[in-house]
Amino acid sequence: MSTPHVIVIGAGSTGSATAHDLALRGLRVTVIERGEVASGTTGRNHCLLHSGGRYCITDQESAIECIEENMTIRKIMPDLLELNDGLFVAITEEDLTFKERFLEACAACHIPARDVPVKHALEMEPFLNPKTLAAIQIPDGVFEPFRFCLAFLATARLHGAVVRRYELVTEIISSGKSVTGVKVRDYRTGKIETLGADLVINAAGPWAEDVAAMAGVRVPVQPTPGVMVTLDCRLNNMVLNRLNKPSDGDIVVPQRATCTIGTTSWKVKDPDLITIPPEHIEKMIVQGEQLMPIVRKIPMRARMAVARPLIVKDASDERNVSRTFECFDHAYDGVDGFVTISGGKTTTSRAMAERVTDIVCDKLGIEAECRTREVPLASYRLFYQGGQQ
C-alpha cells in the first residue's frame, strides 16, 4: 500500500501544526486554505503565549495544557517569541481577594509564579496603575500568529507537505460511507480540481461547521468574536493581566512598538461578517485604563475582531464553555475518513495537532511516534521560498 494521503482544510494554527505533525510521521499531506496563511481566526489573535495563569482558577485542564505547550513552543520556535513574562495585578480590594487562590491554583497547575513586591512591579512597569495592590509574575510570552503558522508550514514542506493557498474546498467527495477526496476551486485561475485523499481533516476553525456540512455531519462550533484595540505606543514590556476572573478588557499584550488591549465576546452566525460594536472599543479603553491609566491618551493604531471557534457545551453563557479543544471522528456519525479538530487556542495548537494526528494514524493503521515536542521548526522565511505561490 502506498503512503496514505491526508488533506487538511485550513491553514490557521491548528491546520498548520497538524500538517507538520502528519508530515513528520511520514504521511503525504496537502493543506488547502482559501486565503493567505492565518487569514482567519489565528491571524487576528491577541498574540499571547499563555502561561495558563488566565485559566488556572476557572479551568485547570486548560491551564495545564497552556503551561505545558508554552514550554514546548519555547523549545521549538525560540526565535519567534518575545519572552518577557507577564504580571497578574490586583488593582481593587476585590481583585486582591483572588491573590491566595491564584497562587495556589498556579502551584496546582505547575505554573511558576512569583509574588513581586508592588514597588518593584512599578519599577518594572512604570505605566502600571500606581494603585496596584499586588503583582504576580508568571511565564506569559508573546508570539506572532502569522509567523507561528509559517514556521509549522515551512517545516511541513521540508518533509514533503504541499500547501495550496487561495483555493476553496467546494465539495467533499464520498464513496459509500467514506470520504475519498475534495473538490477545490482555485481563486487564482477559476479552475476546479478534484483531489483524492485517504482521509480529510477539517481544521477550519469557526468555519468548521460549514465544512462539516459538506460531508453531511454537524460539529457544535459557536463563532464567538472578540474585539481588540492596538495602541500606537508600547507601554509595557511584560504582558499585563488583571488578577480576577477572566473578563472583558482585562489584558494588555505588548508587541514590538505597540500594545493590544483585549478582549470582548459575543456570538455571530456568519464568521465572514463581523461588525465591530463601537461600545466594545470604548470598553477596551475603559478597562485598559484600569491597568495603565495613560491608555486613553495614546492614539489608537488598529482595532480588529475575529470569531473564535468555541465548542458549545452550555448555551447559557459563551464564556463558560471549556477553552480546551475537541476532536471529532465522524465515523461515529456514519461518515468515515473525515475528522474535525476544533476549539482550542493557538498556544495549544501543537497539542491539538498531536491528538488529531494520533487518531488519524490509528485510523490509517500507521505506527509512528509524535516528534513535534522535540523537533525545532525551520525558519518561517523558508515558507515563501522554493514553493508554489
Binding site: 486565503g35 493567505e36 500568529p145 508600547r234 512598538a257 461578517l273 465591530i276 491618551k297 480588529m304 505561490q389
Partner: protein, 255 residues
Amino acid sequence: MKLLDITLQIYRYKQGEQPHYDTFTVQVEDTAHVIDAIDKVWAEHDHTLTFRRACHHSSCGSCALRINGVEKLPCITRFSEVGDGNIPLRIEPLRNFPIVSDLVVDVSGFFQRMSASDMSITRYAESTLPLSVDNLDEIVQPRAVVLPDNLTHFNRFENCIECGICMSACPTMAVDNKFMGPAGLAAIYCALQKTDDADEKAHLLALVDGEHGIWRCHSAFECTEACPQAVDPAGKIMALRREVTANRFKKVGRS
C-alpha cells in the same frame, strides 16, 4: 459614529486573463480602516477577490498594497488619511513583485533577500518605556525600566515586519531586479549590530559590497518615507556605506 459609503476601484487579475479594475461600494464606520472595506467587498460582493491579510494590526506585514498609488498597510490606514470620501480609492498590488492574483503578489524574492543575513527577528529591548514615538513626545517622557530578578534583558521583535512596502516604493528596485533591496540591506545592518564575531561581520559587509548592494541605491529615501514601522532602511544603507568604507581604510592601513 458615522457611516461612510466607500467606493473602491480594485485591481483584478486572474492567470490567463487581462488585468482590469472592478468598482465596489461598501458601507463602513468612519473609524474603520481600509482593510475593513476590502474585507467587506470580499464578504458581501465577491469571494473570488484574493488579498493577503492576517493580523489586522500591523504586526504580520502581509496586507501591504498601494492605495491611490502610495504603499500602505490597509490595516492601519484610515479613510481620512487617503481621501475625502468622494473620490474612489484605487487599490492596487505592490510594485516590483510578480503578481499572482488580484492584490496577491509573489513575495518569495523578498523573503530570499530577508534570509541573506539570517537576521533573527528578536533583539534586546531598549531600557525605557514608552519607545519614542513622534506624536507622543509632548504627552509623556520615556521612563527607565527595571528588569525582573529572573531576566537578564527584556526582548522585542525587530521593527521590520517584512511587508515589502520599501521594495515597492524603491526606484532602484524598478531598474535592477537583482538589487538586494531596502529591507534586505537593513536586515543585514541589524544583523551586524547583533554580532561581535569579526568573521561574521566581515561576511555581512562583503554581502552588501557587491554591484547589487549598497552602492546601487540612489539615495532617494523613498523606502524610509514609505516604511510604516520607522525602520529607516535608507539611513541603514548609508550607515552600511560608512562601515564598508571605514573597513577598506583599515585594510589599506594593515597592508
